[in-house]
């Protein structure tokens, strides 16, 4: 990792130190991210990279689901109370009975219903782009979905009940003991490398990210169609100034950034590669052309087994 830092100690400027620090931070972040990637080999022998969902994403999805459940509970309670008013007081008990049973099913089968569906995800999970999958890459069976959701009772239901108990009667020590015990379950996903909760462990499942990426246009093709032939002729040295990381940053800039950022980036690249701005040359055209040239160069090198990771990667 640090074999590619060629600077001699005497001419380390402050800027270079900062750049090195940034690079190290970036590499650490990459390493951390790659710990969440699991390889799935399909029966065709191809490798698919599954990215595990983080504990915070799952907590977020859970909160959304709980909010939806409560919204349903409150809405039906209000609806039933109107129904009782309309039908007279005699029906109150029956309405309450119906509501209790409904509450039980909502509490326990909300997750099961959605996770058995074709998307294998509750609305909360869908909102965050995650889904449930079998850990062995096989089918997500109904049994697994049942198991992982019934276990939720001791992970979430139990701490809640112990909290309620703390207020009434039962000795504080027992409530505290219960809270600690169920806290272990609640925090379980943070402390294992697959980010499984106990339910996942029992059911043989895990939760992965399933983002729906959109296929966008290829920047290099729009560069090729717009530019006049021969206008942007970069020398091999100029095309070698950056690596894959910078190419990807440039792709992000071109796809997502404002005009202002683009012109700043264009300025920095021109300075770095010593490019003379020609009359009538726009920043966008320059960036797209340079992107195409850089990608062509890097892809050629990659075909020969030479991945230039970033601009410091000089071999």
């Amino acid at each position: 990792m640090n074999a590619t830092v060629p600077h001699a100690p005497q001419n380390l400027s402050r800027l270079q130190i900062e750049a090195d620090q940034r690079r190290r931070a970036r590499m650490l972040e990459n390493q951390r991210q790659s710990k969440l990637v699991r390889e799935l080999v399909t029966p065709e022998g191809a490798v698919i990279h599954l990215k595990l969902s983080t504990a915070s994403e799952r907590a977020g999805a859970f909160l959304i689901d709980v909010a939806i459940q409560w919204a349903i509970v409150i809405a039906t309670a209000i609806g039933l109370s109107y129904a009782i008013r309309a039908m007279g007081s005699g029906s109150a008990n029956i309405a309450f009975a119906v509501w209790l049973v409904f509450f039980f099913f909502l509490r326990n089968f909300y997750y099961i219903f959605f996770e058995l569906g074709p998307k294998s995800a509750t609305p909360g999970k869908r909102a965050l782009g995650i889904r449930v999958a079998a850990r062995d890459g096989g089918r997500l069976t109904a049994n697994s979905v049942l198991a992982r959701n019934f276990i939720r009772e001791i992970e979430v239901g139990l701490p809640f009940q112990f909290l309620m108990m703390g207020g009434t009667g039962v000795s504080g020590w027992i409530a505290l003991l219960g809270l600690v015990w169920s806290g272990i379950f609640l925090l379980f996903p943070i402390f294992n490398k697959d980010k499984m909760r106990v339910g996942d462990l029992i059911a043989g499942t895990w939760v992965i990210r399933a983002p729906k990426a959109k296929l966008m246009g290829d920047i290099s093709s729009s560069a090729a169609s717009q530019a006049l032939p021969g206008r942007f002729a970069f020398t091999p040295e100029q095309a070698d100034a950056y690596g894959i990381h910078e190419l990807h940053v440039l792709e992000d800039v071109l796809r997502n950034s404002t005009e202002e950022v683009k012109s700043q980036v264009a300025l920095r690249i021109r300075t770095k590669i010593g490019w003379q701005t020609q009359p009538g040359e726009t920043d966008i055209a320059f960036l797209e052309a340079y992107y195409a040239a850089l990608r062509r160069r890097l892809e050629q090198r990659m075909l020969l087994g030479d991945r230039k990771a970033d601009k410091y990667d000089t071999r």
Partner: protein
Amino acid sequence: MSDLLKSYRFREERETDWRKLDLILTRAENNGVKALSDEDMMALPRLYRQAVSSLSVARSISLDQNVIAYLEGLCTRAYFFVYGTRASIGERIMDFLRRDWPACVSAALGPTLLATLFLFGGGALAFFLCVQDMDWFWTFHGNNFWDGRNPDATVEYLRSTIYHDPMSTEDGQLTSFASYLFNNNAQIALFAFALGFAFGIPTAWLLIYNGVHLGSMYAVFWSKGLGYEFTGWLMIHGTTELFAIILAGAAGFLIGGAVAFPGRMTRLASARHAGQKAATIAMGCVIMLIVAAILEGFGRQMINSDVTRYTIAIGMMFLWLAYFYLPRRDEAKP
């Protein structure tokens, strides 16, 4: 043409097929498999294989991160669709009722017997303690037992709790009480299953606790000479309900045993193996408790004859036993 990148030409040639696959998958995810035409179903395997191989190639020749992210997402979705289950919810429910549930219950005979032992052991213990010395009742129930069915009650009062006056107007109240009981019992059954994870110890405690409650109540009625009548009142739904609680306990023990004694498997694999079976049993318990609640809420209120109550109780018992344990034709396993 020579000005175009190789990776771009690669993409250009295959893009239509990727988008076609994307479209099919989106349709299937939103509207189910039935929304797909025969044509789509025929095209799917080819498109899937092509996308997967595109992904492998793209990883080694293309540096367009949008293309790679798109293909990763597409292939993941396609993989889970092609190799996932495509049974509809209805088919899954039928499979569960026809095969999975009875098979899991009959395979867990050992834990079931163990759970029976704990429940009725606790019940018998409490019963004999209470019959010898009624003070035990207060030990088990505390002083805040709310409905007056305690050793101080009169025979007439106890009898009135067993038989229901068809003219009375508290039908609604009893219905809501039955649904409250179902709610409670079903939640306890799920707890008994889930707590099995801790080597089954909390499950055993839960079973004994319920047994003790039952046994001490029984002792109260027994000591007033209402044993036969109380049995009828209890068992009309009790054969179903107690069976369900025993099975929930068995599910807990199944997991507990698998975690404690994984045998030749890893602890994780063993827990997973047992967990899926146990969850099936627990799901079944919820169904049994619904049946029990219906029997309790309606049957018990409307039927006041002891003989009919016993007939229903024993009938239900045999029904469940036959459903779970009668050997059935071995269907070809998938």
